[in-house]
Structures are given as structure tokens and as C-alpha cells.
Symmetry: C5
């Protein structure tokens, strides 16, 4: 498999901290001061940060100092027309121009593909956008990262990480043009490994809303890496903790050095 810069690390894996949440949530708990959160995250030494393109423009100097790459988010998903609210239905906008995205010299461009919506037209536009962005990036050396998620109201919350859903969604995402997949982790190696094996493109995992302990999150990452995943793009479970820097360092041990949760974290 010929790889992208993003995955040309010593381990072949990548640790990407997602801090693009301002696009969706605005100023939110734990991320009100963008530079402070960014610096806390960068101090842990991630390979890259996932940010919006204008965040990349505003804080490009800080990121470059930390020698981190940028993966850039191309679309905007809010859950309400009110700022930072969740009204139970996503409002999806294909926002940023490939020219802007490529001008921040990204190691990847990331978009979501939301399954389960009631709004069929929004689904059609989302799907078209995956195909269009894949075409816009083809030949540039910048991979398209697609994050297929089951956020729509037609999929019950408890099925969002169900192996059958994740497997189907993953397949569709690369058939539509993904170069890299950002998948929900199914919860165990037994169900996640075949999904990774059957994918012709590298798989990374997402974090989702911070819901459990850091140890539980790290355990998921350990399982994902054991399943063959090539890394993570996780946000809230990192920067919503008390010490994001340490969490990033712990992740580094698991992702790049093959360590176990016990090796890197005191529960």
C-alpha cells in the first residue's frame, strides 16, 4: 500500500488530535481559549492536529513551531441553527474551497459522511461532496479522509458503533472516494479487525463525545491499533481532560511504540 505523508512515521501510524470543534460548537467548555487548548495539545507531541482552514491560518505559526502537521476540515456540521446547540438534526454545509484547503499545505482533508438522516437531499449532497472532493484532491498527494458516521435520527444512538453499520459505512466511504477512513471503533478487536482488513485504504479511529474515562478511551485505541488501524483522530477525549498534554503522550506510547494502556496510564 503506497502511503501518504501523514502515515510516513516510524511506526507507520499517526496520532492526530482533533481540535476543529469550533466549526461545530463555537466556543465550548475546554476550548474557549483556542490558543491555550492548541498549545496544551501540541505539548504532547501529536503528529498532526485536525483543524478548520481558518484556524490553520490564524494559528499556523504556533503549529509550525511544534513541528506538527495539519489535517484540515472541509465541511461544517452544526446540530442547530443556534450557535453551539444540539437540536437533534445535523445541518451540514460543504464549506471550504479546495484552493483554500490546499493553501494550508495539509497532510489530509477531512469531511464527514452522515448516514441515517431524514433529509434525503442533504444525504445526496453529502455523498456528492465526498465524490467531488476526492476528485479535487486526486493527484495532489493530499489524501481525502472521510468520516462515515451514523448521526442521523434514523439510526438509534446505540447502533452508531455497531460492527454491521460500521462495516457497511466504511465500505461505502471508500467506494465514494475516501483515501483514508476515520471510523467509529466498534468496541473490540474481534469485530473491528475484519473491517480494517477488508479496507483497501488505511483506517484511523474517531473519538466521539467524551463519555468515559481516559483509560477506557486509551483501551479503545489499543484495541484499534491491535486491529490494524493506523492511528487516531480524537479530540474531546483529549482536550476535555484535565491534562491534555499527558493524554497525548500516553496515546503516543500506544500508537507509535506498541505499548499497552497499563504501560502508559495510571487508571
Amino acid at each position: 500500500m503506497s502511503d501518504y505523508d501523514l502515515l510516513e512515521t516510524a511506526s507507520g501510524n499517526a496520532l492526530v488530535t482533533a481540535i476543529d470543534h469550533g466549526l461545530a460548537l463555537g466556543a465550548t467548555e475546554g476550548f474557549r481559549d483556542p490558543e491555550a487548548t492548541l498549545r496544551a495539545v501540541l505539548d504532547g507531541g501529536p503528529d498532526a492536529v485536525l483543524v478548520g482552514p481558518h484556524f490553520a491560518r490564524r494559528y499556523g505559526g504556533v503549529i509550525a513551531e511544534a513541528d506538527a502537521d495539519v489535517v484540515v476540515t472541509a465541511d461544517i456540521v452544526t446540530n442547530s441553527t443556534r450557535p453551539g446547540f444540539d437540536d437533534g438534526q445535523d445541518v451540514w454545509t460543504p464549506a471550504f474551497d479546495p484552493e483554500l484547503l490546499l493553501d494550508v499545505d495539509p497532510a489530509g482533508v477531512k469531511i464527514v459522511l452522515v448516514f441515517g438522516r431524514d433529509d434525503r437531499e442533504m444525504f445526496v449532497r453529502n455523498l456528492s461532496y465526498v465524490a467531488e472532493m476526492a476528485e479535487a484532491l486526486r493527484g495532489t498527494g493530499v489524501p481525502l479522509v472521510v468520516e462515515p458516521v451514523m448521526w442521523g435520527g434514523r439510526v438509534p444512538a446505540e447502533l452508531e458503533t455497531h460492527p454491521e453499520y460500521v462495516a457497511r459505512a466504511a465500505r461505502m466511504a471508500w467506494e465514494y472516494g475516501a483515501d483514508v477512513l476515520k471510523l467509529p471503533y466498534t468496541g473490540d478487536v474481534e469485530t473491528f479487525e475484519p473491517i480494517v482488513e477488508h479496507s483497501p485504504v488505511p483506517v484511523m479511529i474517531l473519538g466521539g463525545p467524551k463519555s468515559g474515562s481516559t483509560a477506557a478511551m486509551l483501551s479503545n485505541v489499543e484495541g484499534a491499533i491491535a486491529s490494524g488501524a493506523r492511528g487516531i483522530m480524537i479530540g474531546r477525549s483529549i482536550w476535555k481532560t484535565e491534562d491534555p498534554t499527558s493524554v497525548v503522550r500516553a496515546l503516543d506510547g500506544i500508537i507509535h511504540e506498541g505499548k499497552s494502556v497499563d504501560d502508559v496510564w495510571d487508571a
Copy 2:
């Protein structure tokens, strides 16, 4: 009739195995491991495989090794916004760019034309897309394969292969721009032959969901060939069987050598 590369075989017919189902269904029973299914199918020696353009990019090496051509699918039809579900109404997306499609050096580009929808605007867009893609391909030497189907809720399932419907839909498909038709088989030579005869463009048949025995499917193919059809683009009735390789070989006997079902298959 001046023909396309796809039909420039010794028999003048073509055996195309459809394995583009990941676009519609995601990872599905019998096709969870894309490469395994692809290899099983290729081992039977089809003239071409029908695949999505990104499938063609990911597995182009495997297909080239088997010396098979690629017919590429340009649109995406899901039956739900949930991955791999069927909610009784198609969600159709004109997805891929002609530039991408032509870059996989295809022996044909395939799109559907769905009749019977409740959504008139989606029908208008579908019809426009047939006309636009025909124009995009005109002069490239790559034929536009149109698959007119009666999937909409306004056509009862039992009429989807009715000769009157198929005849009308076939005529409309080439009047709108098809260079090759991928038609439902009507079930007998008596009704299918005039449809083929009245078409100024070559006719191939589709398979539909695997519902009966392999022998029944092969019998349909034999009837289609006897009616003047120039081959098949069949998928699930091949790769959902226990031994796809043997089914492809049996089809080869009927399509290229004029054999009967009895010659090629032990029921």
C-alpha cells in the same frame, strides 16, 4: 452496427460480472472481503467486471492481471440514508466526474434510469443525467450503458420485468442517449426478442437480486442470448453462490460458445 471494444469478442457478446454493489449496499453478505470476491469472479474469466471507479483504482492491479476489462458505474443508488438498508425508495446520486471515469480506461460507463418514482424531480435529474453523460462520452469511444429499471414505488414488483414496461423503458433509454442497454429479461424469448430487434443499440441483461437457482439464472441468460442479446451484466446471482468461479465459466459457455444450460451446468 459499429461496435465498441466491449463487444469485440470472438462471439460478439460480452460476459460482464457486476461487482459494484458496495456503492449501494456497503459490505454485504458474500462481498465483505472485496478482493476475495473479485478474485473468485475473475478466476472464471469474465470479459469485464462492472465496478465503481474507486474500486477500479484500488483493485486495478488485480483486474489487469486477470486481463479483464472494466465497466465503471457513474451513479450511486442507495435504498435508504442508512447504510445498506432498504427503506423502499431509492436515493439516487449522480456521483462521479467523467474525468475520473475515463481515467480508469473503461470499456463502458454505466448508469441507471429509474422509472416509477414518486419523486418527479429525482426522475427529471436522472433523465437529465442520462442525456448529459451521453454527451460527455460522445466521441470518446466509450459507450454509455443505461440500465432502465422499474424500481419506483409506482410500479408493482411483479411488473418490473413485464414486456410492455421493458419495451417502453428500453426505447426511452436509447432515445435519451444510451449506447448499450442493460435490460431486465422478460422471462421468455417470445417477448424479449422483439425488444432486442427493435433496439438500434446492443442489449445486455441484468441479473437482479439473487432469487432462484443458478440453473434458472443460466436459463434466463440462454433465453436472452437466443433473443439476440449481446451478453450480461450480472452480479449477485454469481457472487452470492457457493462457487462464483464455476458460475462465471458456465455463463461463458452460454454466452460465447452458444451452449445450453444442460451443457454447462448440473442442476
Copy 3:
């Protein structure tokens, strides 16, 4: 009035047989075998046939042999999303590209303008398309033929040929860009003549569904010519008859030689 090739006949009139019905109806009674119907019609020696652009591509050789011109239909009107059905409301699609249309070297390009629809947005698009196509053809020497019809559900069927409706619709059609009008005949010279006289562009008449005898149709044509019309674009009343060739010949006598119905037809 400077004229188009289409009307540069000895009489200054033109006999165009419409056989573009596959676009709307698919394979239909009397027109299941496209080539047979085409040949029957051409044997009568019409000045031109009105066909879809892909019909023109497929049967261009046959038409050229007969030394007939082609007028080409640019839009598609079905009356259902089901093939060949009439569900009481038109589904209109501006389908074909000017480049394709002009490549068949047409003596005219024809589109409809449907009045009386419930769907105001479809009316706006239809009207815009008349204006756009007029602009696309301006300066090419190929006239835009507009067929203003009262097919919408808001106009009772019995008023579709009412002189007041036809006069208004005719005026709007050329104000929107028509170079030639294809009008419903109002039924008598007294009401049709002023419509023709007040039009700065040539008027031809349409046939509509075959409903009466051939003699009645011929009588309408005689009246239209007497009113100053420059010819016809009639289809079903020709090719749905037992002997299309003879009907075309009879029309020729009326249109080009100024004969009466009695001169050309035994009722």
C-alpha cells in the same frame, strides 16, 4: 420575412412528420419498430422528420437516403414517471445540449412551452429554457420551433384549441424567442387566420393525439394552409393510420400544391 432552409421549398411551406414520440411514450402502438415506422413515413416524401437527437444519430443514414431534413426535439415530456403512462401531469426535462442538437445538422430545434401547469416552478424553468435555447441558436441559422400547448391541468381539455388561448400562447412563444411556431389549429380559418397574420414568425400546426378520421385531419391542414400557415408537424395522425405513406402523400398535395382534401383523399 427572411426564411429558414426548412421553409425554402417551392411552395414556401413544409411538411414535417413528427416521429419523436419515443421520447415521451417509449415503444408505443404503431411505433414499436422505429425503423419500420420511419421508412413508412419517409416513403411518402416529407420535407423533414421531427425526431429526438439520438434517433437522428441512430437512423441518420435512413433519413439521408430519403433526402429528408431533420427537425430535432430538445426537451423530453413524459406524463408519468412510469414508462409510457399518463398520470395527468407532465414531467418536463430540458434534456439535450445545443452542441449535440446542432451536430445532427438540423433544419430546426423544437421545444414545448406548456401552459396551465399547477407547478409554477416547472413553468418558470420551461419559459427560461425557451429564452436560453433561442439565445443558443441565435446566429446559427437554425430556427427555434416552439410549441405552445395548453396541457396543464388548469386548462380544461376542451379549451386547448380555443382561439383566445392559442392567440395568447402564440404571442408569448415568439416574445420569449420562437423563430417558428408549432400551434394547435383552432378548427376554422376565421379564428386561425388572424393568429397567423399577427405573428411576425412563420406558423405551422401540430396534430395532437389521433382522435378523428384522416379526412378530418386533412381538412384541418387545408384550413391551416388557407389561414396562412406554412406547414405542419404532425405525427400520430399519420403513423397510427394503416397507410402512413399515403397519408404523407395526401398531405403533400394540400401543403405544397394547394389541393383540397377532396383532391387528395377518398373519405
Copy 4:
């Protein structure tokens, strides 16, 4: 104020007879024979006629003979999908291409801006079109004439010429891009004069449906000129009269020579 050719008359005012009603109404009482109405109007010696672009193409010779300019209408407003009917809600179409409009060498391009509609999206499109057409004409020397009217169902008919509505609509029209305003006259100098004075672009008045006597219409024009208006674009109150030529001549006296109604018309 730097002026346009349209207003470079000896008086600085312009008399434009509107005969673009075929676009909206089709063939209508008093305007069934386009050339006859045009000639009757031209015989009175207006500075220009307001016509559709295809009317300008068809009757350009007649207009040029009379040494009249052309102001051309760029959009189409019907009040029904039925030809020439009024179903109480406008159907607005941005119809004609700037290239076509400029090819008739116009002294102005005219579009409406309809306030009070129930359909917000149509209002947004209308407003965008004013802005776009202003930009398309900027730098060509051809002024954009905008006619802000209160035709929507949300404005009661009796308020369509209310000074408050007219003042607001006038301001919005030039803020959106109008170079010249075609306004409803408010009925008296006291209310109309400040509207004219507060406008940085020249104001002309429209006629509206012919409802009163010719003397009443002339009196309105006299009031408008006294208010500082630079002329008129009036149609039905001219060509629906028994002697359009004389009405135009009477208007000429008021508009160009500063005469009173009594000077020019025997009531």
C-alpha cells in the same frame, strides 16, 4: 448628475411608450396586431418604446424608421401559468441574457422588483437579479431601469401607490443597483417630490392598468414632471385608448414642453 442617452433630450426628459405587454399577457385587447399598435404609438413620436428583446428583433426596422430608441425588458412576469390570465400571484422569470439585450442596442434595460410576495424565495431571486443585472450593465453605458412595484398579495391594492411604500421601494431599488427608477406615481406633487429629490438616480413613472380617463393619466404625468420626474414609461393608458397617436402627442407637450393638461387635451 451624469445622464444616459435616454435622457439626453432637449428637455432632459424622456417619453417612453411601454409596449412589452405581450410578454405578460400574450395577445391582448388593443394589442392583438403587434405591428398596428406599434405604428400607432410611433406615429405620436415617443423618444423610445419599451419592448421585449424579441419584439425588438422582429420589429426593429419599423422602430428605426420612426427614429425611436428601444428600452428592453429583461424579465417576464405572468400572473398565471395559463396564458394571459390573472390568478392573483405573479410568476416571475429572469429570462433574457445580457448579450441578447445589449445586441438590440438599447437605451435601457428594464426589470421589475416585486414587493409583497408570499413566496420569499422568488423575492430573493428577484432581488439577486437586480444586483446581477446592474453588474452586467455596469460600464456598458446602458442604464438599468428598475420598476419597484407592490404587486404581491401581502400589500393591499389600495396601498400600491402609497407614498410610504413607494419611497421605501424606490430607495431599495437603487440601493440594489438601479440606474433609473420606474415608479408608481403617488397621486400628488406633495408626496412625490420628496421621493424624487431623495433619489440619486433619475425617476420616471409607470402607468399601471388603464383605469381612468386619459385626462386623469395626463394629469398624473403633469404632476410627476412637476415633482422632478424625468419622464414616463406608460403603456396601456396609451395604446388601450381610441387614438394612441394623439395621446402620445399630448404626453410630448407635457413632458418636453412643460405644457399643462389643459394645453394638450380636450377632456
Copy 5:
């Protein structure tokens, strides 16, 4: 922070008087005579005026004489399809072309971003427009000023300046592409200062409908400046007063000279 011409004043702040209200309201109380209001405002010596692009074209000479810059409004927000009315829901139109906007040599281009709408599609278009305009202006040296406001019906009026809403909306606005923010003032330094501090782009404040005394408005401005804001874009609270010139001068003292309300205004 590298700054724009707009903020390259001695104090680093800017006093912009907003007089673009004709776009939204038409001729409105206190602003019926555009030139008179403009001159009254300019006499106070603001750094710039915020106007529509056609206002800038019509009164460019007057503005240049006063040596004031122009910030130009690119979109149109009305609150009704009726002119100047408020029907409780905004009608938003992305109106003017970047080419027109840049041709008035602006010190900034301003658009709104309306949160809380019921119409999700209008929100998506608004958000896309922020991103598109940011891209159109990138590299031109002209900053994009975004005004995130809570005008939609889903946000209660009393929350429009709530710190949590303003903080979230501000963050989203620059993540979507704003170079400068025009924010509602939250009412006190304690809540506004962190919003300004956490913004990587300069913050200015808006005025909103004139509701209180001039002293109260000036007090808000004093608080905003104390919070780190770089100036104001206020309109109605200036030109709806009896003496706009004096109000602008008072603002100048606060904004550029660090004076208190008591220093500059007799309550």
C-alpha cells in the same frame, strides 16, 4: 497581529458609522434624505462609513471629500417581502459581486451570519457565503467583516447579547472565515473581555436598533473599548439622534482618545 488599513489609525481603533440601512429598510425615519444623513454623519469625522455598494457609487464624491473610508455591505437582509416592514423572519440575499465590491476600493466588506433561523437551508447558504466571500477576499488586503447575530426566531430576543451566545457565534464566525468580527456587546467588560481575548481577529461592536439614550450607547462603547474591542460599526444610535455630528465626535473621543463618557457627553 498584522492589521488592515481600516485599523491603521493612531489609536489602532476605528470608528465606522453604519448607514447601509437603505438596503434593509428603504427610506426610513431619520434617513429619508440619504445625502443629508450622510453629510451629518461625515461632519463628525468618522474613520469610515458602512454603506451598500451602490450607495458608495452614488455618493462616493461626498465621502471622498470628507476623507472617510468605505466599508461595504455585500448582502441584503430584509425582514419582509414588503418594503421596510418587519414580519418576524429575515429574508437574506447574498447580493453583490466581489468585483463590484472591490471596485469601490473598500476598507472592508461586511456580511451578516444569522443564527437561530427556522429555515435551515437559508442558514446553510449564509454560512457558505461567509466561506466563499472569505475566499474571494483572501489575498486582496480587504478584510471580511462578519457580523454574527442571533436574529432568528429560535433565539429569544433577550438572549441576543448573552455572553454564551456571543462567544459561540464569534468563534464560529472567524472559523468560517471572518477577518474582523462585528459583535453584539454583551453589556459589561467582565463578559466581553474574554470574548475579545479569545479571538485571533479584531473585534468591533454593532449598535442594534436605537433603544436607549445616547449616553447608554456611549457607555457600551466605552466598555467595549475597555474590553479590547478595536472600534465600532454603529448606525441608528447615531443618525436617529437629533445631532449625529456631535454623537460621532463623542464616539471619537472614546474610541481614539481613551476618554470616558463623562468626558465627551452631557447626559
